[in-house]
């Protein structure tokens, strides 16, 4: 079953076409990689899918929780998130001055059923649901091995754990599609290895479809079933890792970069 359809989207930034006629479909359970040199427009594609930017032309459709397709081209990010899409950011955006636990609990907010009245007058409904949220949040943190750090401020976590917390926070919104923007950025090979395991694990555990932007080609080649290569805002190749690594256009686009494609 298809989860996301991106049809011919383009966006102009002050006359410059950052992405042109980009197409993509995502099938349920798929793990798709989006790669390309710096400035190729990968994050811009992400931002259009998640509603941060709106494409100048083209359409995006996302299947809601009942599997019915909705046009999300002009929706706001929070609406799209509430439909079941979550993301992380290239340059980590945690709620720095809040605790690890609260970072997660915030992500549960759009599913909270008790009302302001319950919160302010502390009704039984409030206590019941708060306890549930906290329990779920801690369970999620345990999965990421962050349970013991729940009371720390997010800004005090080491870099690698901040990345993990951001993924955990995205999962707390209960998405069926997860978008990861360079999750391995700034990690050493060992950490990248662990991250690969983690992504595989959460994909199984939470039944996720994943779209991954990555610079680290070894990570993408090792984990993705299908890859789209962007350059200068255009798709230059699409296929399995094996096909991609032999595509002459891809090799050309990466020429001059130190990254090799032999994963």
């Amino acid at each position: 079953m298809t989860v996301l359809r991106v049809k011919d989207i383009s966006i102009l930034f002050g006359g410059l076409k950052a992405v042109s006629n980009f197409n993509m479909t995502l099938e349920e359970g798929e793990l798709l990689g989006l790669i390309g040199p710096n400035g190729a427009g990968k994050t811009t594609v992400f931002n259009m899918i998640t509603g941060v930017y709106h494409p100048t032309s083209g359409e995006i459709e996302f299947a809601d929780k009942n599997g019915k397709f909705q046009n999300t081209t002009h929706m706001k990010p929070f609406q799209i998130t509430q439909m079941g899409m979550a993301r992380t950011f290239q340059n980590i955006r945690l709620f720095k001055d809040l605790t690890v636990l609260d970072n997660i609990r915030i992500a549960y907010h759009s599913n909270v059923k008790y009302k302001t009245f319950d919160a302010v007058f502390r009704t039984p409904a409030f206590f019941k649901e708060e306890a549930e949220i906290t329990k779920k949040a801690i369970e999620l943190l345990e999965i990421f091995n962050l349970g013991h750090k729940q009371a720390e401020l997010a800004k005090n976590l080491p870099y690698g754990e901040q990345r993990k917390l951001e993924i955990a926070r995205a999962l707390a919104t209960q998405p069926k599609l997860l978008l990861l923007d360079e999750p391995a950025a700034g990690m050493n090979p060992q950490e990248t290895q662990d991250l690969t395991q983690l992504i595989r694990f959460i994909r199984e555990k939470f039944n996720l479809t994943i779209l991954l932007i990555e610079h680290d080609v070894s990570l993408v080649m090792g984990i993705c079933e299908r890859i789209i290569v962007l350059d200068y805002g255009q798709t230059i190749a699409e296929g399995t890792p094996a096909q991609i690594s032999q595509d002459p256009r891809v090799i050309k686009a990466y020429l001059g970069e130190e990254v090799g494609l032999h994963a």
Partner: protein, 336 residues
């Protein structure tokens, strides 16, 4: 669940006993009338400063027109008491609600936008509302103002104690309700807006809605604070609500710590008392306040308390219950 109810009852009992004792101290003259006046005034200042902290400290949106909101609440309340003969409680409540409507109207065009427009729009609102008060002579008495607003009681001997009882009751209710709100999912949504709007949005938080939410509640509380002003002073005029009044609240919030309810309460009482005590400084006080703002921002932006809170319940349990049940005295922001 039982523990939650017990905690709630304990807190309510502490609040009632505290307010009762304070009122009795005034009634029996242990606290003199002048001090009682200052305490009541401080109570009102705390209420309005809390409302400012909600939007500026917790939601991260600077508002500079809370004196204007107070004015709306005060005049509405006075009108309800004098012209409509409504009971005090209802009059103050309506004052708050009318102010909340003003908040909605101002917030709607402003809070949609990123950036600092709220600061300048609320500043403008605070100035314009005074022009309107001066021109709406039939309702507000114009520049001369309104006189002869009935006090909380007609009995002159009871007045100081009853004023204090009213103000402290409203203040304590406000403190409890605001801190309950902050320590809930709705409070966390508000905090996430302050921390990072883009990330909050990506987490499914409707950023504009929660700014409006916080701003409207803030306006309501400021209106209630203004509503208390009317019977407390017995007269109102537009100069009572000038820009410097808004700044007074900002100084309380900044000094206490943006994002700390405890800080606002402490700073509210300390600064109100100092203001009376430092009257001999006259105009120099007007220079000290802005310097205080600048120095705190430059050298200690977290103010006295940062975003920490002192939990009354925690203190109580520490004092009177066995050690293993006690909570820590100072709740770190996140452990709420």
């Amino acid at each position: 669940m039982k523990k939650n109810i017990a905690n709630g009852l304990t807190l309510a009992a502490i609040a009632v006993v505290f307010t009762g004792i304070m009122t009795a101290l005034v009634f029996f003259g242990v606290i003199d009338e002048y001090t009682a006046q200052i305490l009541s005034l401080a109570g009102i200042n705390v209420i309005v400063a809390l409302s400012l902290n909600l939007i500026s400290g917790f939601t991260g949106q600077l508002a500079l027109g809370h004196a204007g909101f107070m004015a709306v609440g005060a005049y509405t309340t006075a009108y309800c008491i004098m012209k409509l003969n409504l009971p005090m409680f209802l009059a103050i409540l309506i004052g708050g609600l009318v102010t909340a409507v003003f908040g909605l109207v101002i917030g709607f065009p402003t809070l949609r936008l990123r950036g600092d427009y709220l600061a300048i729009v609320t500043l403008g609102f605070g100035e314009i509302i005074r022009v309107i008060m001066i021109n709406l002579e039939q309702i507000t008495g114009g520049a001369a103002g309104l006189k002869g607003i009935p006090s909380f009681t007609e009995d002159i001997l009871l007045a100081p104690a009853l004023s204090l009882l009213w103000v402290f009751s409203v203040m304590i209710i406000t403190i409890i309700l605001v801190s309950n709100l902050i320590k809930s999912s709705y409070g966390r949504a508000i905090l996430s807006v302050r921390e990072d709007e883009i990330a909050a949005n990506a987490m499914g938080i409707n950023v504009f809605y929660y700014k409006m939410y916080a701003f409207t509640i803030s306006a309501f509380i400021a209106g209630v604070g203004g509503g208390l002003y009317a019977p407390f002073f017995g007269y109102l005029n537009p100069t009572m609500f000038n820009f410097l009044k808004s700044v007074d609240f900002l100084v309380i919030v900044v000094l206490g710590g943006m994002g700390s309810i405890t800080g606002t309460v402490i700073a509210g009482f300390v600064l109100t008392y100092l203001q009376e005590f430092l009257r001999f400084l006259q105009d120099y006080r007007l220079v000290i306040y802005p310097l205080l703002l600048i120095f705190i921002m430059l050298f200690r932006p977290s103010g006295l308390m940062g975003n920490r809170e002192i939990s009354i319940l925690g203190l109580w349990q520490r004092l009177f219950k066995s050690k293993n049940q006690s909570q820590s005295k100072v709740d770190k922001a996140g452990e709420r």
